[in-house]
């Protein structure tokens, strides 16, 4: 197997919220095109971990290197790193005062200086990709949750990221809408995007993940290929967790 380049390299990451030690000695390497699924009980630090990668949270110890750029808490590299990373949130976090299309072209036109027409064209291709092109002129709150989440994915793609982070993208959705979002994510994965997804959709993990990471109490308990992880988890804690959700 040819070893492709390292997109994210996390070494000895530690983070505290006040006195609370949320992340303990995390080591993680994601290579170009790999898909990681992170699962674990709530409070295990999985969201905090991916939020550290694009600096929505600042870590105190250890190092994170994204595509060769070292992430320094509050450092100058911040915007360079955020340009490489797209993020999708549990609550979609679309901008309700802007139309779907405006949501998508905001950063490309203002941050990256693309002409409006070109940005709109790119936005429309991504909106078509997620199947929302016919709703481009609507406002986010006029759409269903699943549609909003797909817009959020398209919006993140418009910044042309090399890595996509998903923070429980389907947890706030009705059961009937989960599938439409997962379908988009699967398609994205098949097109070779490097992805880290915090999710409890184990079907999705089985289908696309190169590795499933199980976290508890701020530590990576086990990291393994999905088949191996689901069929014989090595730790009692993982077994217990899987027995709850499967």
């Amino acid at each position: 197997m040819t070893r492709s380049k390292r997109m994210i390299e996390i070494v000895g990451l530690n983070k505290w919220f006040g006195q609370f030690h949320v992340l303990k000695d995390i080591d993680l390497t994601v290579r170009d095109g790999q898909k990681f699924v992170i699962c674990g009980p709530s409070g295990s630090g999985k969201s905090t971990l991916i939020r550290c990668i694009n600096q929505l949270e600042h870590h105190q110890e250890g190092s994170i290197i994204v595509d060769g750029i070292k992430v320094e808490p509050g450092g100058r590299n911040q915007s360079a790193i955020r340009d490489k990373i797209g993020m999708v949130f549990q609550q979609f976090n679309l901008f309700p005062h802007l139309s779907v299309l405006e949501n998508c072209i905001l950063t490309p036109t203002l941050g990256q200086g693309l002409p409006k027409a070109e940005a709109e064209e790119i936005a429309m291709t991504h909106l078509t990709r997620v199947g929302i092109d016919d709703q481009a002129r609507k406002y986010p709150l006029q759409l269903s949750g699943g549609q909003q989440q797909r817009v959020a994915i398209a919006r993140a793609l418009c910044v042309r990221p090399q890595i996509m982070l998903f923070d429980e993208p389907t947890s706030a959705l009705d059961p009937e809408m989960i599938k439409e979002v997962l379908d988009v994510m699967v398609e994205l994965a098949e097109q070779g995007m490097t992805m880290i997804c915090v999710t409890h959709e184990m079907g999705f993990a089985r289908q696309v993940a190169d590795k499933v990471i199980f976290m508890d109490a701020g530590e990576i308990v086990e990291a393994n290929e999905p088949q191996a992880f689901f069929d014989n988890p090595r730790y009692d804690r993982s077994q217990q967790f899987l027995s709850h959700i499967l």
Partner: protein, 446 residues
């Protein structure tokens, strides 16, 4: 037992019960639902009838419309009817204060210019609305203050007035080209002059040259033009009220936004200074601030520099209003979900982009009622400047009753002043409600 699934078909909609919809339904639901409700409705109607009847009688039916003095009024109807001739004789003063009668056109023209300046904001095809709004705030004041104040003008002052004039010309030429040929002014001019579109450097040069020519022309015009000086102590009435509250309102919103952002800033020094300013000005009554600025400020000023009394009052009002507005804005900022900040920073937007494009538009929209409430409060609070001897609308009304011919005529002027205040405040409040409705698009599912 068959294997075919049952087919679900939704029931058709039925119309709502007839007595809950339509005008009759509304009346029955809201006015005559049951016996106590009907009694309250009748009682309310009776009270409205008695009160309006009394006011109409006093103000219109029993009122005196022509008389030479209050004595004459009292001889005709006593106190049963209003004595309007007194208010009529002083009406010009209520509006313009003691401004020289032959110069009053300058005030009128000044306000007409403001209306002209703002008018393009309501023209549907105009796209440079932000520029027009900004120019109204930044450039109009120079033009207006020269109209109102007049007098000698030094070089810098002339340039500023010329800038104001250029602003007005720019606003209207932009509005016209955008409406008529649907192109921005710049590209229309360039198209007209035949500058090739590809040559960006020459285009920029042409634009600069055009702007410079316009400025020189305006400068020449302004320096030829002279208006006699009208000292601010002659300013008064509604005019003065509008000047003070207008400046206070325009200043308070941007200053309040900056203070609110400052108070929430991560930088401790800025946060502490903003908090200190806000708490200081909010904890002291406006009257006290006005007195302080009026009597104490001159003590701290170096000798020889005298700050005009009106300016002192305006500065006091502005600072007070900014502190209040800051807290309103902060309330709005806190209502914005943390996810909005996270989304915009994960998209790579910086602090100012996030603030101006994501946070403020949403926050200001929720704050419209509170902001306009503050504006209305400020408009009415300016009556307090009468305490330091400025003859605003309120003080002018009081002056009527001190005129020897109309001695003791207080109720009628105050009635008129209340009406004027009501008209202005109600207009502001209706405008804000209209704005809320207009901005509600996309807020709800529809």
């Amino acid at each position: 037992m068959s294997d075919a699934p049952l087919i679900f078909s939704p029931k058709p909609d039925r119309p709502a019960p007839a007595d809950t919809v339509g005008l009759l339904g509304w009346i029955r639901q809201n006015l005559f639902k049951d016996v106590p409700n009907a009694l309250m409705t009748l009682l309310g109607a009776y009270i409205i009838f008695v009160v309006t009847g009394a006011v109409v009688n006093w103000a219109l039916i029993d009122a005196v419309w022509s008389a030479e003095s209050r004595r004459e009024c009292l001889d005709q109807v006593g106190r049963a009817g209003a004595c309007w001739p007194g208010v009529a004789a002083w009406f010009k003063n209520l509006i313009y204060g003691l401004y020289p009668k032959d110069q009053v056109w300058r005030i009128n023209l000044g306000f007409v210019l403001l209306v002209l300046w703002m008018l393009p904001l309501w023209m549907p095809k105009v796209t440079s609305k932000i520029g027009i709004g900004l120019s109204a705030v930044l450039l109009y004041p120079f033009l207006a203050s020269y109209f109102f104040l007049g007098g000698e003008k030094a070089l810098v002052w002339t340039a500023l007035i010329a800038l104001g004039l250029c602003g007005l010309i720019w606003v209207w030429s932009t509005a016209l080209t955008e409406t008529l040929v649907e192109k921005p002014l710049g590209s229309w001019v360039i198209g007209r002059l035949g500058v090739p579109e590809a040559d960006e450097r020459r285009q920029r040069q042409t634009k600069l040259i055009c702007a410079a020519l316009l400025f020189v022309a305006a400068f020449a015009f302004v320096s030829l033009w002279s208006l006699s000086e009208v000292r601010t102590r002659l300013w008064g009435g509604l005019f003065l009220t509008l000047v003070i509250s207008g400046i206070g309102i325009t200043f308070s919103l941007p200053a309040g936004i900056l203070l609110a952002l400052g108070r929430r800033s991560d930088l401790p020094v800025i946060a502490a200074m903003s908090t200190l300013f806000i708490e200081l000005f909010r904890s002291v009554p406006l009257i006290t601030i006005l007195f302080m600025f009026n009597t104490m400020l001159p003590l701290f000023m170096p000798t020889g520099i005298e700050v005009n009394q009106l300016v002192r009052a305006i500065v006091a009002v502005c600072l007070f209003a900014a502190a209040y507005m800051a807290e309103v804005v902060r309330g709005g900022l806190q209502a914005i979900d943390k996810g909005q900040y996270e989304a915009s920073s994960s998209l790579g937007m910086g602090y100012w982009q996030t603030t101006t494009l994501i946070v403020l538009p949403q926050a200001l929209k929720i704050m419209i009622p509170a902001i306009v409430g503050n504006f209305i409060g400020l408009f009415k609070d300016t009556t307090l400047v009468s305490i330091i001897g400025l003859f605003d609308l309120m003080n002018m009304a009081r002056a009527i009753g001190e005129d020897t011919r109309w001695l003791g005529l207080f109720i009628e002027p105050f009635f008129v002043v209340s009406l004027i205040y009501f008209v202005f405040c109600f207009a502001m409040s209706s405008y804000s409600m209209g704005l809320e409705r207009k901005l509600a698009t996309g807020r709800d599912r529809s």
